[in-house]
């Protein structure tokens, strides 16, 4: 059953007379509840692709179908967790989440229900204790947790993660990856994640989409990750399937599609 479909997406940017084709003929179908990662070297247009799915950028050709309906403008059904958290610094943790909740559930939930829903989502990411803190007063990992809570609280059909752990130190990152895995297990969200971290991709995903280098980047290979959930990073370290997947992605990125500095 296809839930989210990326249909023949091309994207080119025109500046003056010069036209650069960034993405070419991207086709991808994602099932409900699936966790799909997109991996590629920097500059291959993976963030552009996520922005197209989010509706923040329009595709030049082709489009995005969600439940067989075309989506071409941003909306809370495709909530984004941004790389740099993008919390509004003048609002508290609670107010940041509440802003989205008030917008999405304006007519369907009462004020009290919305308050409970905000706290429920803050509890999911273990951030309820910091509800009255401002983003500047909490750590990078905590901010990202709040960013995830804000996205989850909109009850999105698809959760879009744009290198969500990229700006974090290794230990915090591992901790947060486990949290995201647990949330995915519990809530069964459909997740599309951009990453450049091979271990992260293999650990979290059901499928890994590998992008070729730009310009005119496209999907080079899609790898199924045959690992049962729930997954444990310590056990996986010696798991043959895990190592094989990891090897496949590394080969793709560093042998067949090496990063070209000049590009």
């Amino acid at each position: 059953m296809i839930y989210l479909k990326l249909d023949h997406i091309d994207k080119s940017f025109t500046r003056g007379n010069a036209t650069t084709e960034v993405l070419k003929d991207i086709n991808l179908s994602i099932g409900e509840g699936e966790y799909v990662s997109i991996i590629g070297h920097s500059g291959c247009g993976k963030s552009t692709l996520l922005n197209i799915v989010a509706g923040l950028t329009r595709a030049t050709v082709g489009g995005v179908l969600l439940e067989n309906r075309e989506v071409n403008s941003p909306g809370p059904d495709r909530a984004v967790v941004f790389q740099n958290h993008s919390l509004l610094p003048w609002l508290t943790v609670y107010e940041n989440v509440r802003l989205g909740v008030d917008k999405v559930f304006r007519s369907s939930k009462t004020s009290i229900e919305r308050d409970q829903w905000v706290m429920h989502n803050l509890n999911l990411v273990q951030m309820a204790h910091a509800r009255d803190k401002r983003p500047a007063e909490i750590s990078g990992g905590m901010k990202q947790r709040v960013g995830i809570a804000r996205a989850l609280a909109m009850e999105p059909k698809v959760l879009l993660l744009d290198e969500p752990f990229g700006a974090l130190d290794a230990l915090t990152r591992a901790h947060l990856q486990d949290s995201v895995m647990a949330l995915h297990q519990k809530l069964g969200n459909t997740i599309l994640m951009i990453t450049h971290d091979v271990d992260e991709a293999v650990l979290l995903s059901d499928r890994i989409v590998m992008m070729t280098n730009g310009p005119s980047a496209t999907i080079g290979e899609v790898l199924e990750v045959p690992l049962a959930r729930p997954r444990n990073r310590l056990e996986l370290a010696t798991n043959a399937n895990y190592l094989k997947c990891r090897q496949r992605v590394l080969e793709f990125l560093y042998e067949r599609h090496r990063f070209v500095e000049a590009a």
Partner: protein
Amino acid sequence: MNMPLMKTETIAARPTAAVVTLAPPQRPRAEDLMKMARAAAVRIVPPLVVLVLLGVIWELLCRRAGSALPPPSKVFKDTKELIFDPFFDRGGIDKGLFWHLSASLKRVAFGFSLAAVGGVALGTLVGQSVWAMRGLDPIFQVLRTIPPLAWLPLSLAAFRDGQPSAIFVIFITSIWPIIINTAVGIRNIPQDYRNVAAVLQLNPLEFFWKVMIPAAAPYIFTGLRIGIGLSWLAIIAAEMLIGGVGIGFFIWDAWNSSHISEIILALFYVGIVGFVLDRLIAGVAMIVTRGTAQS
């Protein structure tokens, strides 16, 4: 320091409490007091020393017979009445300094409020729309260089009355820095915040109140601070020309009747009020933008 005392009083005043064991009023520890006194002294003593020094130099310079300006001792003697009774009102323009200052402040309040509302609105338009910027920015850049008083004859011709003309001069003087700073603030809103707003599907009005204004607040307040300073500069000059009640005309009137001491006193007041106005806006800015600091 009064807090513990007040607390005990309220407890004692409660009629229902039969037995109240009063905690001994907590005395602020001597060390704390010393620390606070020292911190205050560090800020207050140096300007005080300089002030006294300047006063002495002034006194020495202007003491000689036949000097053009009065020494501070004579200024004080001449203006004692004005200093100690700022509230007298003998009709016409023969009023205490309080009435002159409040008349000037009222004009500034009117003109500056109009400029703040108009400036933020126009600044938002220019900052948000490329076409509005292309169309309006060059015009603003030329208009803002026109000195405040150059507008006065034109506004007198248009309004045929001193009061609205003075308010218009304040408005037209203080609006430019507000427009320009607001526009820069709006243009500098990070794309991330715009993306967040887009994903949340905030409508333009919600976007304006919940994202634009808070995000641009530090810039807007910079504009407001420059604006209030300029309007205080402009009102004095404008009042000298339009006459009536107001600190500007008070100075001009004192000059015409050769009351040099009164001019000096008025200048003190003008300086202090200008300073207070600036601090006021800065204080509001501190409160409003406390959360806007980037993390």
